[in-house]
Symmetry: C2
Subunit: 485 residues, 2 copies
Amino acid sequence: MTKTLPTDDLATQHEQLGRAVTKIISDYAATLDSRKVTSSATPQDLLKIFDEPFPEQGIAAEEILARFTDEVLVHAMQVPSPRYFGQFNPTPLPIGVWADALTSVLNQNAGAWRNGPTSAMIEARVLRWLCELVGYGPESFGTLASGGTEANLIALKCARDRVHQTAVQTGLRSASGDLTVYASDQVHFSIERSVDILGLGRASLRKIPTGPDFHIQTDALRKQLDEDRKAGAIPCCIIGLAGATSTGVIDPLAELAQIAVENKCWYHVDAAYGGALAFSSRHREKLNGIALADSITFDPHKWMFVPFACGAVLVRDGGRILRDACDITPEYLNEDRGGADVEFDFFRYGQMGTRRFNSLKLWMALKFMGRQGYAAAMEKQIALTEYFARRIDELSDFNRMNDIETAVCCFRFLPLEYVSVPGGEQDRLQQKLQQEIERSGEAWIHTTVLNNRRVLRININSFLTERRHIDDLLELLVRTGKTVA
Amino acid sequence: MTKTLPTDDLATQHEQLGRAVTKIISDYAATLDSRKVTSSATPQDLLKIFDEPFPEQGIAAEEILARFTDEVLVHAMQVPSPRYFGQFNPTPLPIGVWADALTSVLNQNAGAWRNGPTSAMIEARVLRWLCELVGYGPESFGTLASGGTEANLIALKCARDRVHQTAVQTGLRSASGDLTVYASDQVHFSIERSVDILGLGRASLRKIPTGPDFHIQTDALRKQLDEDRKAGAIPCCIIGLAGATSTGVIDPLAELAQIAVENKCWYHVDAAYGGALAFSSRHREKLNGIALADSITFDPHKWMFVPFACGAVLVRDGGRILRDACDITPEYLNEDRGGADVEFDFFRYGQMGTRRFNSLKLWMALKFMGRQGYAAAMEKQIALTEYFARRIDELSDFNRMNDIETAVCCFRFLPLEYVSVPGGEQDRLQQKLQQEIERSGEAWIHTTVLNNRRVLRININSFLTERRHIDDLLELLVRTGKTVA
C-alpha cells in the first residue's frame, strides 16, 4: 500500500485497504465469543503505548492497520461480545458496520439538501418511520442527533422557547420567573447538562422521588409543581423516562401526559433506550401514552444495534417547531430552489451544522431487520433478562432490585454475613465483585446506585447473547462471590 | 448473504459484506473523475424513489447494497470529486473511510474510559497533537465534537460561565446585565445559534462590520464594546475567524487577542477550516496570535480530509474549564478507578454523552499524512486557488472579490452589459450561471452574499484536484457565461 496521497491510484488504494480491513473485521468476529471482554492493561500501560510525538512524515497504511490490530483492538473494551453486559452499548449489526464505510466514501454533508440530496431524503424517510413506530401522526417530524444527550438538548430548547417566547431573541434575562423542569430522580445526566446549557441553571431541574418500582411518584410531582408555581416559577417541561438508565424501567407515560396538559408544560419522553419496545406487539403497551408527548428522544444506536453515533429527536407537532428553535439561515445556503432545500435542510432543525450521513446505516438496518426482526431480537433479550432475574431470585446470596421491564436487571450480592453490616461495607462488596469480574475478563457487568446504595447491574444488548452466556455469567457471579465475601 | 441475524455466522457475514463493499467503493473511486458531480434528479424524483412503507420483514443484504449503488450513490452530490468546488467538504482520505468500518465494528462508547480504554487514550493523544499544532502549551486540553457548530457552542459555554459564574447553577436570569458576544459580519451561523441555545438571545451577538478585505474592523469593534458597556451590557466573548465561511479569510488574530484582554473577554478563534494552515511553514504565519485564544474550534473533517464527523474544540488553560462547564457525574459512572476514568472520560468535557470513536480516523489520518503530507496538500490547494484567481483576473467578464488567504475564491460574472444594471439583476445572473453549471454536472460551485450582493464562490478541498480540473472549470465558466448573459 502506498504511503502517499492516492491522487493517481485511488481505486487501488481503496481495494487494498478494503481487503485488509475485511480480514481484520472477520477475524475479529470469529474470535469474539472466546475473547476476554476486558484487557488487563492499566491506564498507565495504555498511556505509554500511545505516547508518541507529532507525526512528521507519513507512514504506510499497513503499519497503521497493524498498530490497530495489535494495540487498539486488543486493549479495547469488547463491547460487541455476547459477554458484555454493560451500558446501552449494542453489538453493532454487520450491515451497519459496513454502511459506515459507504457513508464515509460518499462524505455527504447531510446537513443541506444541496450537499447531499439522497442523504436528505433518507434522513427524512427514517425519521418518518421512527415517528410512525412511536405512534405519531403524519404532521410529526424530527432530526437525527449525535446521541440522546443532544436530542434531549434540542427537545428542551423547544420546551424553553414555547414557555418563554422571547428567549430566542432576548435570552433568559427577560423571563418573568425561573423556568423549571421536572423528571424523576432516575433521569439521565444529560437533562441536567441541558438545562445548564440552555441558561435555565442546573437548579431549575426538580428531581422527583421514585417509588419502590423506580417509577416517578406522580403525587410528589404534582405537589412540586404547585409549590413552584406558588413561589413564582414557571413550570416549563415534564420529562418521562422510557427505559431509565439504571433500571430500564418506564414511567407512567399517559399519566405524565395528563399532568403536563394540566400544567401547560411541554411533555418530553426520554425513550433513548426503551423506544425500541415499540417494535414488539408483546411489549409495546409498556409505552402507552408515549404518542402524547410533544417530543421524544429515541436512539437507534442503543436498542436497534446501529453503530454509534445515531440518536434522534422526534416532535409531534411538526418541523416548524424545530425550525423556529434552531434555524438561522446563512446567506451562502439561502439560494432559492423550489423549497426542497429548505424542507430537507436538516441543519435547520437541530444543533448541528455539518452532519454525517448517519441515516444510511439506520435505513439499512431497518431494511435488514424489519419490524419482525427487531421484535424477535428484543423479545429474546427481555426473555433472557427475565431468565437471569429468576435465577438470581433462586440464589440466596443475591437480591434483585427491579422488575424486568426491558432488558436490565439490577441486583446486590449480600451473603448472610453482609446483611447486617453498614451500607458502606455492602457497597464496597459490590464494587469488589464488579472489579474481580472485570479483571477476569470472562464478562463485563457494572454498578450503579439505587436508594443511595451501590448495586450491580446488567443489560443484555447483544443479539449474540444466548442462554449459555447467561448461565456462564451466573456461574461466574457465584464463583467470584465466594472469593470476595 | 443471510437476511437473518448473524448469531452463528458473524464472521462469514462480515466477510461477504466487506468484499461487496470493497468492490462498490473501489469501483466508485475508479469512476470518480469522469462522473457527473450532480444528479439531475429533482427533489420530487427522489421523494418518489425513497417513499416506502415501514419495513415489516427483513430483506437480504445484497438487495440493500444494490439499492445503495443504484439509487443512493448515483443521486448523491459527488463531494469527493476533484470537480466539486463547494463548501468545506473534503474528499475523504481512504484510510479515514476504512477507519470508519473499524470504528463501527469495535463500537466503543468513547465517552467513558471504562467503555473504551483505547478510544479514550487515542482521543487524548490526537487532541494533544492538535493543541501542539496550534501552538498551545502542555496544560491545554480539548474534546472532539460532532462539528464546528458544537465546538463553538462548547467554547461559548466556557465564555458565558467565566463571565457569569453562577450561570451553571442559577441560569441567566440572575445576570446583572446582558452578556454580549462580538464577531465580524462574516461569522458562521453557528455562533448565533449558540448564543440562542445558551440563553443569551440572538440579539446578544454583535456583528461587527468588515473592511474591503472582509477582515473585522477593529476600530468598530472597540467602539461597540464601549457603547455596550456604557449601556450596562457585560461583554463576554470576542470571536476571531480563521478561514471565514464565505471568503476563507483570516481576522487579525493577535490584535483581537489584545482587545479581548483589555475588555476582560473570553477570546475564541473559529478556525474550523483555517486551523489546518498550521501544518505549513509557508502559511502558518497567517494564524499569528491564534495561540493567545482561550479556545479554538478546529475541524479535522474540513481541511484534514477526515470523513465526517470529526470536529474539535481546544482550550488553552486546560480541561478543568471544560469539566466545570460540562461535567455532571452520574452515579452509574462514578466508580473509583485510580482517577483514570475521570481524566479520560470525555463525556465530562463536552456536550455529548455517548460518543463515537471518531478519534481513530483522525489518528490514522495524521499517521498516514504526517505534518509534511498535510503541508504539501494544502500548499498545492492554495497554489491552485491562486492560479484560479490569476486566471479570473485575466477574464474581463469576471471580477474577483477577495484576496486568496486560504483555498477560497469569490468572484462575480459581470459582462459589460451587466455592469450598470440594478444589483438585483446582477444577482440573478450569478444564480443563473451557478444553476447552469450545476445542471451540466461538469463541476459544482456555489454562491454566497458579500456586501449584500450575490457572488460565485469556489473552495478547493479535494486532494484529487489538479491544474487540469481548474482549467476545465474556467472553460466551463466562460462557455456557460455566454449562454446565460
